[in-house]
């Protein structure tokens, strides 16, 4: 059975559409992966996530290692069985959350020691332990463990972190390959670093390809640099990575970020934005984001988006903006559930539209139309 096979069906400029075949299912690319931080895509059942069009979801190593614990998840049959999602799961390496959520972090060449944000307990994440945790979870796409630094940072610090990340990428590769049973059915992605520096990005891309990975992530972006700077990096970063492997832009993003990144050759995305916004009364629409708390929606019989095919917008279960406004104002759980469902549905529909536009070689006009209408 195929472990990991990326096939490109059509190319349009720098953009591509295709699919990744894996044992637990096929991932259509460009793909958006809903974030299932703590073994749940917040507010949605697995069948709902799938019904909205997701081929793969993301799980967070940092959160799961702390609660319920990787060894416990393994004893309970792995993350897929535990949460009832039988399709591919990509797990991050934990590096990003350690830097953003944990306290008392202490870095060394070995890895990062830290205190849990939940109970202060001490933990150590190294490339080897990160890969082990992802294996215990039963991850399908495992991410190499990398070092992240707070930006802005001096070029020397950035270069040092990138080079350490490349050494850790090699250790991640060795650790992944040392467990052949898991390695025979899962994939390992490396992560390009180098901040906004083209030469560092090139060096990082070369180092990763020297090690060899199934896919390549573009890390260290969407951390406050702004869309123009991010697109500036993507303008050269995707071309620095192998054309034959999927490119994954981590933690991105807003709908217009995704359109611009697909145009620049990115194949995979993840972001908490649609789920987090859904819990915060914000709906994504083709006209831009909409705050359902606003009183102007109180008697609006329209759906969130006439052009959205999700069950919240059309069909027998569709509801009005007026109803969502009421739920949100009343702090009703159903408000967050329906808004999240719509947002994930909107994102999946956007990715499906991007795939179709690439297939038909009309991505430029699709992107132009989308971005003209979409107001942030």
């Amino acid at each position: 059975m195929t472990r990991f096979a990326f096939q490109i069906h059509a190319v349009d400029g720098a953009a591509r559409t295709g699919e990744i075949a894996m044992q637990r299912g096929t991932i259509r690319t460009p793909a958006f992966m809903p974030v299932g931080t703590a073994a749940t895509v917040k507010g949605l059942r697995p069948a709902e996530v799938r019904g909205l069009g997701a081929d793969i979801i993301l799980g967070n190593t940092y959160h799961l290692m702390l609660r319920p614990g990787a060894e416990r998840v393994a004893r309970l049959g792995g993350l897929h069985h535990f949460m009832g999602w039988d399709r591919p799961i990509l797990t991050d390496s934990g590096g990003y959350q350690v830097m953003s959520l944990a306290s008392l972090t202490k870095r060394s060449e070995d890895g990062v020691a830290f205190a849990s944000h939940l109970d202060g307990s001490r933990h150590l994440l190294t490339p080897e332990r990160s890969i082990e945790i992802q294996r215990l979870l039963g991850s399908d796409i495992v991410m190499a463990f990398d070092e992240l630094i707070a930006l802005p940072a001096p070029r020397e610090a950035m270069e040092a972190a990138m080079q350490r990340s490349m050494r850790w990428a090699a250790r991640s590769r060795t650790a992944f390959d040392s467990a052949p049973e898991h390695a025979s059915r899962a994939a390992l992605f490396g992560i390009q670093q180098g901040g906004l520096d083209e030469r560092l990005r090139a060096e990082s891309a070369a180092a990763l390809q020297n090690i060899g990975f199934d896919g390549y992530a573009i890390g260290g972006l969407a951390v406050g640099e702004g869309q123009p700077a991010m697109f500036g990096v993507l303008d050269y970063a995707t071309a620095q990575l192998p054309v034959t492997a999927p490119r994954y832009l981590m933690g991105v993003g807003k709908p217009d970020d995704i359109v611009g990144a697909v145009v620049r050759g990115v194949d995979m995305f993840d972001c908490v934005l649609p789920t987090r916004s859904g819990r915060n009364a914000q709906a994504f629409t083709h006209d831009g984001p909409l705050n359902l708390r606003n009183a102007r929606h109180a008697e609006d019989q329209a759906p969130l988006d006439h052009d959205c095919p999700c069950p919240v917008c059309t069909g027998p279960a569709a509801v009005s903006r007026a109803y969502l406004h009421h739920l949100v104002k009343s702090k009703e759980m159903l408000g967050a559930m329906l808004m999240t469902e719509h947002n994930i549905g909107f994102y999946q529909h956007l990715l499906a539209s991007l795939r179709a536009a690439i297939t038909d070689h009309r991505l430029a006009s699709f992107a132009d139309t989308f971005l003209t209408r979409y107001k942030n």
Copy 2:
């Protein structure tokens, strides 16, 4: 088209099973009505509520008149359209919540003036206004507006409140009948009062029958008097009400309360317990309630209840107690969603089992088996 027709299919002792035919659908009795306080059964979509077996839900006049407002709901097409539930809805009269939630209440023969618990705004509920609100909502089963007093109360106060409630019941009837368009497709229920006093209960029942209602509720119970006292009242109260009309025990209750009340001839129930408990980590099972926060569930692969047919317990979407424990501990929305789904499913399954037991004339042995196993 039938406005309201109650047919009894089988009788077993004092218990009966049958159905109420109404324009928006048929209600199988004995029936449990999930509570949809603010135009949502908290944590569940309408299709999920229906899928679990509910024929009818309850809406709260007090909550809906304050937010989003009865006139607004009417402008938006009525409560059914607003929330996407096309089957029967019973609305309460608002009397109970005014006494339990509002502040600065001031009673008179006219009605009850009060300040909203949301924003302190002043409102007046009278029998006429309560019926008007229920009509604006588009209620299928309208409840008469009655006066409730805090217990324990002197017999004279209890009697005075009961007699005022009977005068208000007559005003409710007149108000209901004064809007023939709504009255031609909805039903009106009266509410028996009288506390724990058999003579007052009899007097109230006679007064209500003198006015004439489609169904009769037993009010003023489940307010702290305890199960033996409540069953003591039911032992005579159901027989004081017409055998040909549905009897509705308001605000009840725990699974064992419901079994005991069905045995005593009650046909309809509503209670926030399954939904509220679901948000509070408590699951109902055939062995009694289960607190999913308890660490003993952390690695328990069993479902909540092997004998429950709900989607959380069996089938492709079933999950383990271990997973629910994790969700509850992590304060994940999905925990409350799944626990609520199970609890409503458990209640609907219990009512279906009671209906089947009455049909087969084996209610006594069913109740005995259920109550022996069920530990509060």
